[in-house]
């Protein structure tokens, strides 16, 4: 041990958690249900999110059934259609994507990747999941209250969200929705505290910030952003709940509903939009940044090459995270806010394109001169790049205030955000599941089924959402259950809609295949090697595989290098693990 190491070990004691009791769960209940093991909580989060995500998938089928073949399914009334739209959007954005990236991947990867035994506050972490679970239950219950769930659109804009002209507006639907969001946010705050503090305090010796895998950088930054952005949704939800239940007028101006004067007066609907998008825009990056981080690691590992421009990648993540708080009003160019804000928000929005483009270049340049293994995680990563670049570029249309004017509130917007924050992050989630499944279960997912899943999902989603932009260009507004009899919409648009619906059904069925694969591979999957992808990061270097509670056995890892030592010239293998001290000068022992 050299002198520096001795000093370091004195100053920085290993992150032993005092209460080792925790790591020996006694009963089934404490081990699997009220578990405080971040890895189990991660599975609970992901499983719940997948279950509610399946509901969202079915809702999207029903919507596409209505849009592609209007009149074919009588039970899809207009009310039902709006309810499907709303709940589908809400589930996908909040209860699926946010929960999977932060609650799922965050919980699983952060402690393992930074070399911690667990989250810093395991008990609060457990509570976080159960709050999330309760939020999901409340959302599901809203389907069964009188009047059904809210049909206000996922943006829940007042005044219509709490009026009787909107499904669930005068019933309990909107109340359940708001309560569910409030519970979700409280639960997320508990989880978010853990993710942030664990990255700050729980890192193993030698794990400096610049040695963090980009996955951790992405999830960490997204967690910080979520902690600051979700309160805006909380404020908006609480105030709307006051308006709905107690008769205050925070968002409610003087208005006449169906010929009748309501007792509201003086409130500002635009204030809700400001609060909503102050959360809503960072939310886009709360989903995107973990995807950025994870895909960087997948690309680097499966191309056996160091990530290109690691420093730029880190700076871009921080820059995007910061900038995303001053662009929110680009969702409101035609909302009737002060039109001069448009200059400011268009400029900030287009500036964000620069760090985002740098990330794209660096992903592609990581592949350049690499040794590209076309594994399923790699395929999904490539699909991510295609869909993300496509969706990001259409963002330049909508972010540029005047170009947004004819396109806003049309199907172009729907196509854009599905491509960029629906399909693209989901590609990463799928790639990541194929990548880390052996780490979680000790078995590989079936490759043949995986290939089918990949091809149908990638090609299918592109066929759904690329042509959809052109439906919007024609001028078809979003949130219309059918095209109606409009002179400016040619009949061929209906044909295109039917085609899109067929593609959507196919993509949906591919997800059933994926779920089947995940379940059956638990038993029948090929037993995984200890580090099947020959990755450098710490989660593959645990003494037990899959890692057990406490992660590291008797001794915490010590980190000697950054996470992207792939194909280092002169090294014995094409990767060097982060906790590998490497060739030691003669006469020294390993620490």
């Amino acid at each position: 041990m050299d002198e520096a190491n001795i000093r370091a070990s004195k100053d920085i004691p290993p992150a032993e958690v005092a209460d080792v009791e925790l790591y020996h769960a006694k009963s089934f209940w404490t081990k699997y249900v009220f578990s405080q093991d971040a890895k189990v909580i991660a599975i609970q989060y992901s499983g719940t999110a997948a279950a509610i995500g399946f509901v969202a998938l079915v809702l999207s089928w029903l919507m596409r059934l209505q849009l592609g073949f209007p009149g074919l399914a009588d039970f899809i009334t207009i009310e039902a259609y709006y309810q499907f739209v709303t709940i589908h959007g809400m589930i996908m954005v909040v209860y699926l994507l946010t929960a999977v990236f932060l609650g799922g991947f965050g919980n699983y990867l952060i402690p393992l990747m930074v070399g911690a035994r667990d989250m810093v506050f395991p008990y609060i972490n457990m509570l976080s999941f159960w709050f999330y679970f309760l939020a999901v239950v409340l959302l599901v219950v809203s389907f069964f209250v009188p009047g059904g769930p809210t049909g206000a659109g996922w943006t829940l804009y007042p005044p219509q969200a709490i009026l009787s002209g909107t499904p669930g507006g005068s019933g309990a639907g909107i109340i359940m929705m708001l309560l569910s969001l409030i519970v979700f946010i409280i639960g997320f705050t508990m989880g978010g505290l853990n993710y942030v503090v664990t990255v700050l305090q729980g890192r193993a010796r030698g794990m400096t910030l610049m040695r963090l895998p980009l996955s951790v950088w992405g999830i960490f930054t997204a967690s910080v952003m979520a902690l600051l952005a979700f309160p805006a949704l909380l404020v908006a939800s609480v105030m709307m709940l006051f308006d709905r239940l107690l008769g205050t007028s925070f968002f409610m101006p003087t208005l006449i509903e169906m010929g009748e004067q309501l007792s509201y007066g003086g409130g500002s609907p635009i204030m809700f939009q400001h609060l909503f998008w102050f959360f809503g825009h960072p939310e886009v990056y709360i989903v995107a940044l973990p995807a950025f981080g994870i895909v960087s690691d997948l690309l680097s590992t499966h191309a056996r090459k160091t990530i290109f421009g690691y420093r730029m990648m880190v700076w871009a993540i921080i820059g995007i995270g910061g900038l995303s708080f001053i662009v929110w009003a680009h969702h409101m160019y035609v909302s009737g806010m002060n039109p001069y804000f448009g200059f400011f928000f268009a400029t900030t929005t287009l500036i964000i394109a620069v760090p985002t483009a740098i990330k794209v270049y660096n992903w592609v340049l990581t592949l350049w001169r690499g040794d590209i293994h076309l594994t399923i995680p790699m395929l999904f990563s490539l699909a991510f790049i295609v869909t993300f670049v496509n969706g990001g570029l259409t963002g330049l249309f909508l972010g540029n205030v005047v170009v947004d004017v004819p396109l806003s509130d049309t199907m172009f917007v729907v196509a854009h955000f599905h491509m960029v924050m629906g399909v693209a992050p989901l590609m990463v989630i799928f790639g990541a599941i194929y990548h880390w499944y052996p780490n979680v279960t000790g078995r590989m997912l079936d490759e043949a089924m995986g290939k089918w899943h990949f091809w149908v999902t990638f090609v299918g989603s592109y066929l759904i959402f690329f042509p959809m932009h052109y439906v919007g260009l024609v001028g078809v507004p979003r949130r219309y259950p059918e095209l109606g009899d409009s002179a400016f919409i040619p009949d061929s648009v209906q044909m295109l809609n039917s085609f899109i619906s067929l593609a959507a059904f196919a993509v949906g069925f591919a997800q059933l295949l994926f779920i089947y694969n995940v379940i059956t591979s638990l038993r029948r999957g090929k037993i995984a090697e200890k580090n099947p992808w020959r990755a450098t990061t710490l989660e593959w270097q645990t003494p037990d595989m899959p890692p057990t509670h406490g992660n590291w056995g008797d001794e915490l890892p010590v980190v000697y290098r950054w996470p992207y030592d792939y194909s280092v010239p002169g090294a014995a293998e094409d990767f060097i693990a982060q906790n590998d001290p490497g060739p030691q000068p003669a006469g020294e022992t390993k620490t």
Partner: protein
């Protein structure tokens, strides 16, 4: 291997679809050709970037796919290349933003000779109010709305008495005359959207929003609501008819004023 081919197909297919598909924006009927121009610029720049990035990606996948014995290059970064790419991206973004902001400045600056016309939206129909002989719109208050006074015009305000009220019927506008559309809603959010005019703006209860345009083509155009406003959203349609000056005067003379409506 197949993936490299599919990536190329994605690019080629997207471009072919863009050029040959029959789905394109409606023929313009207002002065906002500049908006279409910025859209076209955006299509060119983003299309070129999309093709370049994905084709390069496809080539990388093909050229550097794993074969026995291949070793990846070791290159943690390349400052020169990164700076160069950042600068080019910056220029591209500026080329998109600059014309956009110039046109936006036009969009928010209403010309002095624009005629004010009020659109009043409610669930789920469009009403209009045109200034009468005095050329001025009277004051309004949502609290005055009754069955007889659907727009809540203030009867105490003389300027409002001669205002023309059009309830749930088509709006006529003269060609070539700039119009400032004052947008008002008496219940929830709506959005006055005529695809051929390109311009649109939300209507927010409690405030009056606006946009302006000059009709450049006579004909009948469909008005749609573009902001979710409840179950009738997709049925909230209307017509706006662009007339010649003479036809417009004839139509205008047939309309009832607020004063005559309240008497009857």
């Amino acid at each position: 291997m197949a993936i490299a081919l599919v990536l190329v197909l994605v690019v080629v297919g997207s471009i072919v679809f863009h050029i040959f598909s029959p789905w394109w924006w409606t023929p313009i009927a207002s002065n906002w050709g500049t908006i279409d121009a910025t859209l076209t610029i955006t299509f060119w720049i983003t299309g070129a970037v999309f093709a370049a990035v994905i084709l390069f990606l496809a080539w990388c996948v093909y050229r550097y796919r794993h074969t026995p014995g291949r070793v990846a290059a070791y290159q943690p970064e390349n400052k020169k290349l990164e700076i160069w790419l950042t600068v080019v991206t910056g220029i591209g973004v500026a080329a998109l933003l600059a014309p956009g902001l110039v046109v936006w400045a036009d969009y928010v600056t209403v010309p002095d000779d624009a005629v004010e016309i009020e659109v009043v939206a409610l669930q789920w129909q469009w009403n209009y109010r045109l200034p009468g002989a005095d050329g001025k719109l009277g004051t309004v208050d949502n609290r005055l709305i009754t069955f007889e006074n659907p727009l809540g015009i203030n009867p105490g305000d003389k300027a409002g008495l001669d205002d023309l009220v059009i309830e749930a019927d088509a709006l006529h506008l003269p060609i070539g005359q700039p119009v400032k559309m004052l947008l008002r809603s008496i219940d929830v959010l709506h959005d006055y959207y005529v695809p051929e005019f390109r311009a649109k703006m939300d209507m927010v209860p409690g405030t009056v929003t606006y946009f302006w345009f000059t009709p450049t083509r006579t004909g009948t155009f469909e008005v749609l609501c573009a902001e979710l406003c409840g179950v009738g959203h997709s049925f909230m349609r209307g017509e706006v008819i662009i007339d010649t000056e003479e036809d417009f005067q004839i139509w205008r003379d047939e309309q009832e004023t607020f004063a005559s409506l309240s008497e009857s």
